[in-house]
Amino acid sequence: MGVESGNFITTKFDSILGWARKYSMFVYPFVTACCGMEYIAAACSHFDIDRFGAGLTRFSPRQSDVLMIVGTISQKIAPVLRKIYDQMAEPKWVVAFGTCAVSGGIYDNYSTVQGADKIVPVDVYIPGCPPRPETVFEGIMKLQEKIQNQPQDWRWKK
């Protein structure tokens, strides 16, 4: 009985936590290339990413929840990306923004990494070269869904 009620409280608390987390994503935009133009468009007032609670950009990995990889990852910048991911505190999610971050895109040569998921685990892929803001929001909503439904990690959870 006690165990069951404990489960009940845990799941409810998980769901509240998920709800809170999905609407207050602190985004770290790892902007390297062209997709940055669309990221700015999505973030500014016309499309307004803030409607989805992802408007606050933090440029310190320690303060951010979502690493948004915006643009081509070259072999030269790969260690930098890895280090930033490692520095982020849990819970953290990664979004690959644009075809280059998803799979390397049209760049298949000596200097590019074929997708950011070769370096860090990616939660949501947003295709497009670059993706239109509507696509970006679709991706963000997918991420919100994922955050809501995943088991949450919290301090006294056992």
Binding site: Q75, K76, A78, N109, Y110, V113, Q114, I119
Partner: protein, 159 residues
């Protein structure tokens, strides 16, 4: 416009191996006289060095005597004239550096070194600029394969 070209031609009769009027005047000169030629250009109003690049003629349909060709583009504000200056150079030879005439030659020559492996004599600080230090070889050479990756991170296998 004609006068300045005639002036260059008459001053460097021996140096100019070949002259051609394409979309801009093209001079092919001897490698030994590059520095004196460029210093003459700089004095005669060619104040902007537009570009330095190299061409690797390894896979050119006809065999060339020397593998590389260095290509300069200069621009004169006074005459509103762009000119192209070229000279041939072999793999093991060193090219003269223009850093004493133009300040942007520093980075441009570093790029040529990085991409083609041509060394510049008299360059103050010749090192890679676009690629990383662990990178072996020079990517824009014709014998460097397009997809040969040299990852910096372990786990990023060549695929």
């Amino acid at each position: 416009m004609e006068e300045i070209i005639d002036k260059i031609k008459s001053a460097f009769k021996e140096t100019i191996l070949f002259f051609e009027e394409r979309e801009m005047p093209v001079f092919i000169i001897k490698k030994e006289d590059v520095l004196s030629f460029v210093s003459f250009l700089k004095e005669s109003s060619f104040s902007i060095l537009l570009d330095i690049t190299a061409v690797d003629y390894l896979k050119w349909p006809e065999q060339k005597e020397k593998r590389f060709e260095i290509v300069y583009h200069f621009f004169s504000l006074e005459y509103n004239l762009r000119i192209r200056v070229k000279f041939s150079i072999d793999e093991k030879e060193k090219s003269p550096s223009l850093t004493s005439f133009y300040k942007n030659a520093n980075w441009l020559e570093r790029e040529v070194y990085d991409m083609y492996g041509i060394k510049f004599d008299g360059h103050p600080d010749l090192r890679r600029i676009l690629m990383y230090d662990e990178f072996k070889g020079h990517p824009l050479r014709k014998d460097y394969p397009l997809k040969k990756r040299q990852p910096r991170l372990e786990g990023l296998k060549d695929d």
